[in-house]
Symmetry: C2
Subunit: 397 residues, 2 copies
């Protein structure tokens, strides 16, 4: 095992349909979003392990010799990956001095990094030294899976260095993907990273970051759809802060208050997810304008339903109105109550329309990204395949 | 039988919940609206029957001797009231010269008047002469049951003159109602008037005009709720014209296109109607602010559902936004696609709030009325119980 230079990336995630309803046993569709987190791993001969996260201003380094004792007296059993190694987790807290209470993004990122590092290299003769630099196109805390994309990149990079997975050949200006069994291993370790950061994550975010494409999520089962189209979207972050926990509790209260009214709404959302899944699979073969019309109708209907279950917000209504005025259909994505919305774009959506919509939304203080959903999951990059601005950030550290 | 001077009135109707869903076997709640149609009947010694409908500019008169042959060779059997007497209907068309095709409001009103007159007096020795003047607060063609209120008034007035029902004693500045069995007879004949005007009406509008209050309507069964509160509303007519037939067909198409999504929405609307019914019956005993909150929530939810089934309209969305900005909750009522909306007012809704909302809505070109729902059905008036402006119209002819 000797570290090699590598760049990996993983996509963000959005919920296309089924947010909130999934908590009540209904189908949700999670999609990869082509706002990616890039990780560069560079071997170091200095015996220093470095973590550079310029997005969130984390610049940490450790002499690997100080880390060695942390994996003693016994390494986490890598086969027992259904839960965290709490002993390691506690030792990392003690080592870093981070407290358990109200952990911040910085601490969580560092803990996840060290946890994955010490776990994956638990049985290695010596701990490798390298510099990890991460540059992400994803905003944090917006429900777009930024922590999962980070964990997936960490997992893929360190498993590659450790030799647990291969380094697929990657041509100049190109990217490469791992084999299915390798992706499964990446996903398992990324899930551990998510557990460090979130406690009891659903596993959907890391699965999307790993597999990409579109995943069906229902009653704890996560299944990648076999063939899916890539779709253009406008992703908008209203930047209205909200508490997912309070929103989920609010939905539960509303179901309890009006069971005969709300239970059918959840059933209808289930129908939307299933109809959308069928439509997307048809579109993978041959996408027609009628397919896009169906996707638009489903978004409009679900946006109404999400308002009905009580997770709408004036900022999201405004997003829907602004886009609809230009013939574009939107819905909230994720927890709602603010946060993000997605707007479906057709292959022939005029760039002037898009520019004017984006301008209007930015004037409201929203962030907007024109991007795609259904894109590949974690991948290995040739340096020349990475966008210039991302590469220049990665190369600055 | 000799005609006496009398003034009767009947309320308009609105759908509180369940419009469109009722077509698919779900519960709807129809409510009386205190925009009333007033009818004055004045005996005449001239042998002339007169009909004055100043709202729609109908001023017709007939020598009763010319009408006598129309009820020959055989009067309609008054016990057979489940359908129109088509022979009489045809004779009336021939007599008036109105064509069957594209009948206008004027012709329909005259036909309904003559049909009810000739049927109710079918077995009388001679046809009575009187002047009927009608003044209505209801707009026509807005889905507010104006034709039913007209038919109910005609039925009540003529049955009173004929002696089939009593003339309840009415004190000065007061009104009086008929007994249950008499109301049933009024409703039966009003339904005949509705058949003349609409072909195959549901019978809900004339039932609301007759019974007042709130009616539960499901699968063809119409049941007045036993105890209901009277509620303040703002009624808004967007004046956007629409075709009920096309809207109903559109909903049917949408159910067919997305059965797994739309069937639960209809179930949820059913739940709304039933929850609303329970809430209203609780309010009849003791209306609390919490009850009003529930009614408001139900209106918001149903407005979303009506958008989902495809009968929303930008004008109705605008109504909802304008009222919500002042804390008031609205939904469309009736067919949708424009037409009317209702806004619930609380007992303590500030008159300044109401004024400013009304001003803003009128600035959009909408008509607005502050009125009540759940008000009494057909009633007999002392002249002094009739509002001055209505009385002055009635007395002008």
């Amino acid at each position: 095992m000797s570290p090699v230079f590598l760049i990996v990336s993983a996509p963000g995630k959005a919920i296309l349909h089924g947010e909130h309803a999934v908590v009540h046993g209904k189908v949700a569709l999670a999609v990869s979003v082509n706002l990616r987190t890039y990780l560069r791993l560079q071997p170091s001969s200095s015996g220093i392990l470095r973590l550079h996260l310029p997005n969130i201003e984390v610049f940490a380094s450790w002499d690997v010799s100080t880390l060695l004792p942390l994996r003693l007296p016994r390494a986490a059993d890598p086969r027992d990956l259904n839960k965290l190694d709490l002993a390691l987790f506690q030792r990392l807290h003690d080592f870093t001095g981070f407290t358990d209470e109200a952990p911040d993004t910085h601490s969580m990122a560092v803990l996840a990094f060290l946890y994955i590092y010490l776990s994956i290299f638990a049985e290695s003769r010596e701990l490798p030294a390298f510099t990890v630099t991460v540059c992400s196109e994803l905003p944090t805390g917006a429900g777009l899976g930024s922590s999962a994309a980070f964990s997936v990149c960490l997992s893929a990079a360190m498993l590659s260095v450790q030799g647990a997975i291969s380094l697929p050949p990657v041509h100049p200006e190109s990217t490469a993907r791992w084999r299915k069994e390798e992706l499964e291993l990446i996903n398992i370790w990324a899930f551990q990273g998510e557990r460090v950061i979130h406690g009891t994550p659903s596993g959907v975010d890391n699965a999307v970051g790993t597999w990409g494409g579109i995943l069906r999520y229902c009653a704890g089962n996560i299944t990648p759809l076999s063939r899916v189209p890539m779709l253009r979207i406008l992703l908008t972050n209203t930047k209205i802060p909200r508490s997912t926990k309070l929103l989920v509790a609010g939905v539960r209260d509303k179901i309890k208050k009006f069971p005969s009214i709300m239970a059918p709404v959840l059933d209808s959302i289930d129908g939307i997810s299933i109809t959308c899944e069928q439509t997307l699979q048809e579109m993978a073969n041959d996408a027609t304008p009628e397919h896009y019309s169906v996707l638009e109708e489903l978004m409009d209907i679900n946006q109404h339903h999400l308002n009905v279950v009580g997770v709408g917000h004036a900022s999201l209504d405004h997003l829907c109105r602004v886009t609809l005025a230009r013939g574009l259909h939107s819905k909230l994505t994720g927890a709602g109550g603010g946060g993000c919305g997605i707007t479906l774009l057709r292959p022939d959506t005029d760039s002037l329309v898009l520019q004017s919509v984006t301008r209007e939304l930015r004037d409201c203080g929203y962030d907007c990204w024109e991007t795609s959903i259904g894109v590949p999951g974690v991948q290995l990059h040739s340096a020349s395949s990475v966008k210039g601005d991302v590469l220049s950030v990665l190369n600055s550290y």
